[in-house]
Every structure is written in structure tokens, then in C-alpha cells.
Symmetry: C2
Subunit: 200 residues, 2 copies
């Protein structure tokens, strides 16, 4: 009896899970598509059919990672006062990156190795940050604590201003001990800007 | 007749100039201490006596580079109004980095290759930025346009907030077209913070 043909979606999922497992164990740069295929009992050609390069695998894995990070931030909206939200979101994201740096360094390896190639996941992360910050700014305006004529433009500025605590290339080069204070003083500066009643 | 013994200072200067010349021509990673010694007609041991490693050479070259960059900023203080000074300084520094990226990429190569080793030039650059921003904040307070209870602390925040347009690791990964606007929106945000009359 012929085995039923598995759906492409399931195969892609198997490949991603196995790739992550091997990257975690041996590092992103040391694992080849052939290694992933062998570990799955598949032909390399079959893996290539679903993911044309290691970069394509890295994009798929980091995009899922970003979505999970984003989902974990949602819960903060209901439990944290608007005035504290910017700080808590920045801290939570920063800690999430630092956890990865300690416990899943292959994620940083993927991001850093592929960042030169105009990595689409970088764009996705930037967009997530800007949307998140725009929502916080709008909530602050509604609550009467923020004044801001153009939340979308200001959200871009907030995201750029927090790059030194939220961007992987900086985090990897920082002394972890410096980061919490840096995060705090930058958020303080941003809050002073958003609370300026004269800002037009 | 014996040649007069050259001062160590002059030898160090010769080594630095030759090293820069070779790094510029062939790239930092491709040039060895032996190459520099050969080009100077010296023994490698003699070069090593003055600079113990290529990193030591990179530190000396980038520190001079930072000092020159800093000196070029001084002239801005007299000609630019206080309210415009932060933007002009940030733009001038950013453009100076982008010039290096185009015309002296070996400088970026040195910074990026040695940044993992807690590069002392990185600390020097950070200190230069913080001093510069603190001076601008103090001038703004004196002129009555800025309000800021702790200029030293705020200068750290300003420096961190501008990292995405002033830090080499970020510049090297950015699309140059995005940078001028990013610089402008972040400075706008910082100015709104510094101008907040309620900030205590």
C-alpha cells in the first residue's frame, strides 16, 4: 500500500523544526541543508524544493520567532498602565533578546550572518516595533498623557531611538550590565518628548 | 659615522602612517605586521616593539581618526545657533562616517573586526559623543530653550538614542537613503524632550 502523500505544509514544518534543532545543537554556520535532509531521511533536493537556501530557512525561523515575541507583548497591554507601557515593552523585548543570546545563540548567529543581505526578517521586526510604539503613543494621547501631532512619524523615531537596546547587532556588542540603565534613560527621554505639551 | 638614533615617537608615527597606507590599499584583514615592517625596511620585531598587535595599531589609528572628527565639530559651535546645533552635529558625524564607509572602508573594517574585543576606541568615541551632547544641552539651558535637570544623564540618553545613525555597526547595515530622515526624526524627538518645560 502506498504511503499517503504528505502535505507540503507538513513537510515544511518538519524541515523547520529539524533545522532549528540542528542549528541549536551545532550552530547555524556548521549545519548544511544536506545535514538537515539526512537527519530527516529526505533527499537534499526535496529540502531545496521547500527552502532554496539556508537564508530562506533562517528567514522562516526568525519570522516565526518574531511573531511569538510579538504575541507575548500583547498581554502587556491589558495589565500595564499607559504611562509605564513604553518602558515595559522595551524591557520585555530587550530581555527576550538577551535570553536568546544566552540560550539560543543560533538565532543571533542567523540574524547577524544574514543581516547584510537586506534580511526580510529585519524589516518585519522593524515594522512590528513601529506598530507597537504607534499603538502605545495613540493610547497615551487618548489617556491625555501624551501629546504628539504625528504618531506614525514619532513611532519611527521611538523605534530608531531604542535601537541600541533592541537591535541584535548592538546587543551582541554591549556589556549586558549596561543595558538596563541605557533602556531606562532612553525611555525617560522619549517619555519627556511625548509628554511635552508644547509639541506641535 | 653612526646614524643618529631616531626617537621612538617618530618611529611610531612612521609605522602608523605606513600601516594606514597599506590598510587603505589592501584592507585591514589582508595586511600583516610583517608586511608593514617590510614596507618600512624594518624588522617585524621592531614593529612589534611599538605595537604589540594589529589591534593595537587599529586602536591608535581609530583614536587619531576620532580626534580629528572631534576637532572638525568644534567649528560648528560658533557658527550654528543653539537650537540647530544638535541636528547639525548629528548630521556632520553621520556624514563623516558615511564618507569613511565610501572612501576609507578599512576604518570600518578595523572597527567592526575589533569591536568584539571591547575596543577602547569605542569607549573613546562614546565619551566624545556624551561630552559633545552634554555641552549642547548646557548651552541650550543657558539660552533658555532647553529644560533638563541632569545634563550628564540626559547626554547619555541622547548618545544612545542616536546610535542608529552614529554607530558604525548600524551604519554599515543601513540603506544610506534612510539615514538622513532617521537622523532628523530622532533629533526632533530629542529636541521635544529637551524643550519640555515640565520635565523635572
Amino acid at each position: 500500500m502506498r504511503k499517503p502523500r504528505r502535505k507540503a505544509e507538513e513537510t515544511r514544518e518538519d524541515i523547520l523544526l529539524k533545522a532549528e534543532e540542528l542549528f541549536r545543537a551545532d550552530g547555524f554556520s556548521k549545519v548544511s541543508i544536506a545535514d538537515i535532509a539526512a537527519a530527516l531521511g529526505m533527499s537534499p533536493a526535496n529540502v531545496f524544493k521547500h527552502y532554496h537556501s539556508k537564508t530562506a530557512l533562517a528567514v522562516a525561523i526568525t519570522e516565526r520567532h518574531i511573531s511569538r515575541m510579538s504575541a507575548r507583548l500583547e498581554s502587556l497591554d491589558d495589565t500595564v498602565q499607559v504611562s509605564e507601557r513604553l518602558l515595559k515593552v522595551a524591557q520585555r523585548l530587550m530581555e527576550s533578546h538577551l535570553d536568546d543570546l544566552r540560550c539560543s545563540p543560533y538565532i543571533f548567529e542567523m540574524v547577524l550572518m544574514t543581516a547584510d543581505t537586506d534580511f526580510p526578517s529585519g524589516r518585519l521586526y522593524k515594522q512590528l516595533l513601529e506598530e507597537k510604539f504607534e499603538a502605545i503613543i495613540r493610547a497615551g494621547i487618548e489617556a491625555g498623557i501624551y501629546h504628539c501631532p504625528d504618531p506614525a512619524r514619532t513611532a519611527k523615531a521611538v523605534s530608531a531611538a531604542l535601537a541600541s537596546v533592541l537591535h541584535p547587532v548592538f546587543l551582541v556588542r554591549s556589556r549586558p550590565g549596561e543595558l538596563p540603565e541605557r533602556c531606562e534613560v532612553v525611555v525617560e527621554l522619549i517619555n519627556a518628548a511625548l509628554q511635552n505639551p508644547l509639541d506641535k
